[in-house]
Amino acid sequence: MDGADGHSLPVMPQAAAAAPLLQVRDLSVSFAGEAGIMPAVRGASFDVPAGGCLGIVGESGSGKSVSSLAIMGLLPPQTARITSGSILFQGRDLLAMSASQVRSLRGSAISMIFQEPMSSLNPAFTIGDQIMEAIQAHERVSRREARDRAIGLLRQVRIPAPERRFSDYPHKLSGGMRQRVMIAIALACEPKLLIADEPTTALDVTVQAQIVELLRDIQQERGTSIMLISHNIGLIAGLADEIVVMYAGGVVERGATARVIGHPEHPYTVGLLGAVPRAEPGDHPLVGIDGAVPDLRHLPPGCVFEPRCPFSAAPCRQDEPALRSLLPGHLAACHMAPLDAVP
């Protein structure tokens, strides 16, 4: 019952020797509010592989977006506090850097796109101006060169007639086009890491597919590492090399995407996979996970998923399980894993 039969599973090759681009270790973030302290991220650890794509999947309140804001140094200073952990980018701890050092990294080495392309652009400036601003904020280049590069970026994000679009204001563009402009701004300084937080959620279905293709092309053509955050496990699984599943502020499972999707070891991951309608022959009722995500201010003792978990047993109500390795590179935070052994 304690991972003893892990050896009976196929052994996966060791992770590539290349050092990860970003290493998040034991990150904890709390928010202080009138209703008390809310631990939004609790001891999260994960890596973004260099040149690869890490997908973080989780529902509301899972801590996936707060983690990305912590990496970007964009947490609201009045209410948020990083209570533990380190964020190593190319080996340097972002949390130990000065504000100005972080600012120069943000945008040039790490950049981010958000869910809402409507509200992320300034309505008073043309999209060309906004891309040029991003270039000139980090590099000393002439206006002419910045303009040429901005048009090149618009072309790279597959905006038709980029020379003409350059002088358009955001309101003239559709949601999908605005998200492409946001991606162009994010790519302006050739970042090593692009964080995409629910980049397709606000978009129409057919436009979502375009943006996913674009992100895949960017990763392959430019070698940009991508950290993709979504509630949609299908979207993540289609793009990410590695996957992190978060629940109520903690990482509950992580590993190579094919392994986690094909052989989930945390009951929450199992439930998520069963909650998405599929199209296999025959009638298969969906699995709803009973109950709701817990209030982060009043977390249950023991495992936070225990109140909703059909695998739970006595230890789950007492001790919070640590993330532990079941196979090299595949980790789950569950007392009952490997689940095949549960009677």
Binding site: G175, D204, T206, A209, Q210, A237, V270, A279, I289, V293
Partner: protein
């Protein structure tokens, strides 16, 4: 042996929408005036005990259609016949008494419940309005409804903010069921919910629909949710229906290129290897729709005819209707990603069985 009989006069369907249109006048002070066809001459039937999925992207007119049927907004043209009676011709009193048969479930369980009313008041209000079971009968009925939607009847004195999003959507469903309606319009009822909770609500709606033989108009942008819950699917694009077919038929062989693009856009939980139809461009402005077939500028199979002549929605004998000049000529569809169509791995299926055990009453809110 049996003598030829005169076919019995079939009763009218639960709902028959014919030539329904809604035009909005837009512009004014600073812009040229124009007319926007939000819903453009659409027709469909919905049988008793049937779920019809109405799918399309934002701005296609699907929500407007739902509201026109309930007369929350008034139609510009066409008819909405409920059991043969045209609702659009009724005066306010007659329509009012019809409303108990037609209910609506909203997308947002946060803004659609009055925060200053208890659950008892919210679910009981329609009964008060229609003078049904006034008095102690209401409390009994509210308890029964809460039970039906999987909530604890002991919580009827609580306020909406004491419930999670999924529980609030259950309250909205209980309110819609209060008067035992025959038709419920569900407008994106799960879009605002977390994935694990969406599945609960879809299961609940499916069960209630079957148990009570409800007619459901299930409006959604999520094709997979529609496939799960609907018997038939109607696809809308820029105010028009482009395809209507039984769910199995449309998922086996979509005929309209737009339907195909919608199906190809469903994210597959593994790297894509299919030749997918990923559309270029965005939805055109409904203020200035393309000539001919509205879809032709984005359609990879468009011909000269498509730019000039709008195709009519034509049904075959099996009830599969499509509005496309060229659907017979376009290459065969490659199908959904195998990751979606192959049976669930036996191990995952076995683990999932644990989640299917009899539902426990929802946990108390902390």
């Amino acid at each position: 042996m049996s003598a030829a009989r005169i076919a019995p006069v079939s009763p009218p369907p639960l709902l028959r929408v014919a030539g329904l249109s809604k035009y909005f006048d837009v512009g004014g002070l600073f812009q040229r005036r124009g007319r926007l066809a939000a819903v453009d001459n659409i027709s469909f039937d919905l049988a008793e005990g049937e779920t019809l999925g109405l799918v399309g992207e934002s701005g296609c007119g699907k929500s407007t259609t739902g509201r026109l049927i309930l007369r929350l907004i008034e139609a510009s043209a066409g008819s909405v016949a409920f059991r043969g009676e045209n609702l659009l011709k009724l005066d306010a009193t007659a329509m009012g008494s019809h409303r108990r048969n037609l209910q609506l479930i909203f997308q947002d369980p946060f803004s659609s419940l009055n925060p200053s009313m208890t659950v008892h008041e919210i679910i009981g209000e329609p009964m008060h309005v229609h003078h049904i079971d006034a008095g102690s009968g209401i409390t009994r009925r509210v308890a029964e409804l809460l039970q039906m939607v999987g909530l604890n009847p002991a919580h009827m004195a609580r306020y909406p903010h004491e419930f999670s999003g999924g529980q609030r959507q259950r309250i909205g469903i209980a309110r819609a069921l209060a008067l035992s309606p025959q038709l419920i319009v569900c407008d994106e009822p799960v879009s605002a919910l977390d994935v694990s909770v969406q599945a609960q609500i879809l299961n609940l709606l499916r069960r209630l629909q079957q148990d009570m033989r409800l007619g459901l108009l299930f409006i959604s942008h999520d094709l997979m949710a529609v496939r799960y819950i609907a018997h038939r699917v109607a696809v809308m694009y820029l105010g028009k229906l482009v395809e209507v077919a039984p769910t199995d038929a449309i998922f086996a062989a979509p005929r309209h290129p737009y339907t195909r693009a919608l199906l190809d856009a469903v994210p597959a939980p593994e790297p894509e290897r299919r030749a997918r139809l990923v559309l270029d461009g965005d939805l055109p402005s409904p203020l200035d729709p393309p000539t001919g077939c509205h879809f032709h500028p984005r359609c990879p199979f468009a011909t000269a005819r498509c730019a000039t002549e709008a195709p009519a929605l034509v049904a075959d004998p099996a009830g599969h209707a499509v509005a496309c000049h060229n659907w017979r000529e376009i290459p065969a569809w490659s199908g959904l990603s195998p990751a979606l169509t192959r049976p669930v791995e036996p191990r995952l299926a076995r683990l999932l069985e644990r989640f299917r055990q009899p539902p426990i009453l929802p946990v108390d809110h902390p």
